[in-house]
Amino acid sequence: MKTESTLTPRAIALHATLVVAALIVVIPVIWVTTAAFRTQISLLTGSFWFTPVLKSFVDLLFTKTSDFLVNYRNSLVVGIASTVICLITATLAAWSLHRMTWPKWVIHIFLGWAMVFHMFPSLALASAWYTMMRPVGLDNTLTGVVLAHAVLNLPMALWLMGVFVRDVPVELEEAARIDGATTPTLLWRIVLPIIAPGLAATSILTFVFSWNEFAVALTLTSKQTATVPVAIAKFAQEYEILYTQMAAAAALSILPALVLLIIGQRYIVAGLTQGAVK
């Protein structure tokens, strides 16, 4: 692509357009974050200037009527547990399918089904899980949501880890075999260090998608097991919406993704684009 180094009128127009687009992306997020520091009255009167207060955050986090800390913990537990389960199974399976001698039809049917499954609306899947989990008492438990999120993200993890596993040089695996490495040694000592960046990319995305997931969490949880998105949705259901608390909850819920974006942008971009480019 052609690139510019001097500030020609065209370069200025280019940057101006991109800056406007960036502002459209950023301003809503910033505006809502500032709304979290307002009082309900200052927000409702719509005055531009206001003195920031922490009341919404205090009400949200430290009052008896609010479960937000519990929701936050639930989301963390579900996100981490489902990511660990999903990543371990997906990495092993991806390596197995791409590097061991499976009949072609096994690979095609399994990965094909995973892709089709990935396209189903999560609410249709939620109804299927609910029908299965309710009789065995797994509905309204964190275990149920963890399992559901793990399998929900499994197709993406299988696909991404497949891409990364295929990048491991075959010669390296062969050499290790000749030196007498057993399969666990080979996986732990040779394959794992090479796919570590891919593992990071996939874990970040899996965690974020689990953290963000709403439909399944809504239908498989109750008051005690509700995750953050379910809690935020509750605000909008109230007769009198606590707008500033909703804004505070929204701001706090973006925090993990924001931290991951800042420390792992490279991995996120690699993960998100891998599917379409390769």
């Binding site: 301003i27 997020v29 505006w31 092993l92 499976w102 189903f120 609410l123 793990a150 075999r177």
Partner: protein
């Protein structure tokens, strides 16, 4: 067990055999055919296989069977009464479902169309920039990582009739306040707008990655031949980007059919049925009204629709990628 791959490789048609040749040879070398091969093949594969069987195939089969019953719950235990295809017959007369199907179609076409167009333009602009490209990209990734429900919450505040930023801004240029989410005429358009805000960055990211991986010599050749910017776009960039465009389109179209979070928070399907979408109809029938049997038939119907979409998208993609 070890002879199985070779047997199936021979059984493959000639066209596939050509592609299949290097793989079995390479795979056989790596796994070495040692005594632990058979064991470790299954140890590494079976967790994922079990998960897929128990948590995706089995629930869906169960859901399919459930769709032929009328299920009532008492003390957490179901009572099943077979009703044949009555649930499916009812689908045909469900006004809410019809509204949901229509709105989802309108939503998918306009939302995906808008995202693709804006994402492509932004990617074209961004790849002409050297300074600050990473910064722009970081900013544009932000919406992808925000939960759908939070995107809903953000825009519920911004589009609020009384104090929303949108009404404040159009008030500055002299227009009256609009009840964006509460009026029949603007509710669906507002939801589409919010979805475009949410997912344009995703299209942008894929297109930018696609543009960055295009070969540079073609552009130099086009320049030597004296191509204008528009000719370059029409005859060089677009044809080479077509596979990426089709993949993004197929992916976004299927995900647009899943839309639920934003609608749940922004409008709850209202006012009337003006923003009723498929997933929300299913939610109302299955969970709010607790009609497991009928809801199951609706789930199966929606999955069927998605499958048809998938087949169409895949065949379109094959037609596009065949000549290149």
């Amino acid at each position: 067990m070890n002879s199985a791959p070779h047997a199936s490789a021979q059984a493959l048609p000639a066209a596939n055999a050509q592609r299949a040749v290097p793989k079995p040879a390479r795979g056989a070398d790596v796994s070495g055919g040692g005594p632990d091969d058979w064991l470790w093949r299954w140890v590494t594969f079976s967790p994922a296989l079990l998960m897929m069987l128990l948590l995706s195939l089995l629930p869906l089969v169960n859901l399919f069977l459930t769709s032929f019953y009328n299920v009532t719950w008492a003390d957490g235990l179901p009572t099943w009464a077979p009703v044949g295809v009555a649930n499916y017959n009812e689908l045909a007369h469900d006004e809410l479902l019809r509204a949901g199907l229509l709105n989802t179609l309108v939503f998918a076409i306009f939302a995906v169309g808008g995202q693709m167009l804006l994402g492509f333009v932004l990617a074209l602009l961004c790849c002409r920039v050297t300074r600050g490209r990473i910064l722009y990209r970081t900013i544009f990734i932000l919406p992808i990582l925000i939960p759908g429900i939070v995107v809903g919450a953000i825009w519920k505040l911004l589009l609020n009739f009384d104090f929303g930023l949108v009404n404040q801004l159009i008030g500055l240029i002299g227009f009256g306040s609009m009840n964006w989410l509460g009026a029949k005429e603007t509710a669906l358009a507002s939801v589409i707008f919010v979805d475009i805000w949410h997912w344009t960055p995703f299209c942008f990211l894929l297109f930018l990655a696609g543009l960055e991986s295009l070969p540079q010599d073609v552009y130099e050749a086009a320049k030597i031949d004296g191509a204008t910017i528009w000719q370059e776009l029409r005859y060089v960039t677009l044809p080479m980007m077509l596979p990426t465009i089709m993949v993004t389109f197929a992916f976004r179209l299927v995900t647009a059919f899943k839309v639920f979070d934003e609608v749940y928070l922004l409008t709850g399907g209202g006012p009337g049925t003006s923003t009723e979408v498929l997933s929300f109809t299913l939610y109302q029938r299955f969970f709010r009204q607790d009609r497991t049997g009928y809801g199951a038939s609706m789930s199966i119907f929606i999955i069927f629709v998605v499958c048809i979409l998938l087949v169409m998208a895949l065949s379109a993609r094959r037609r596009v990628s065949a000549p290149t």
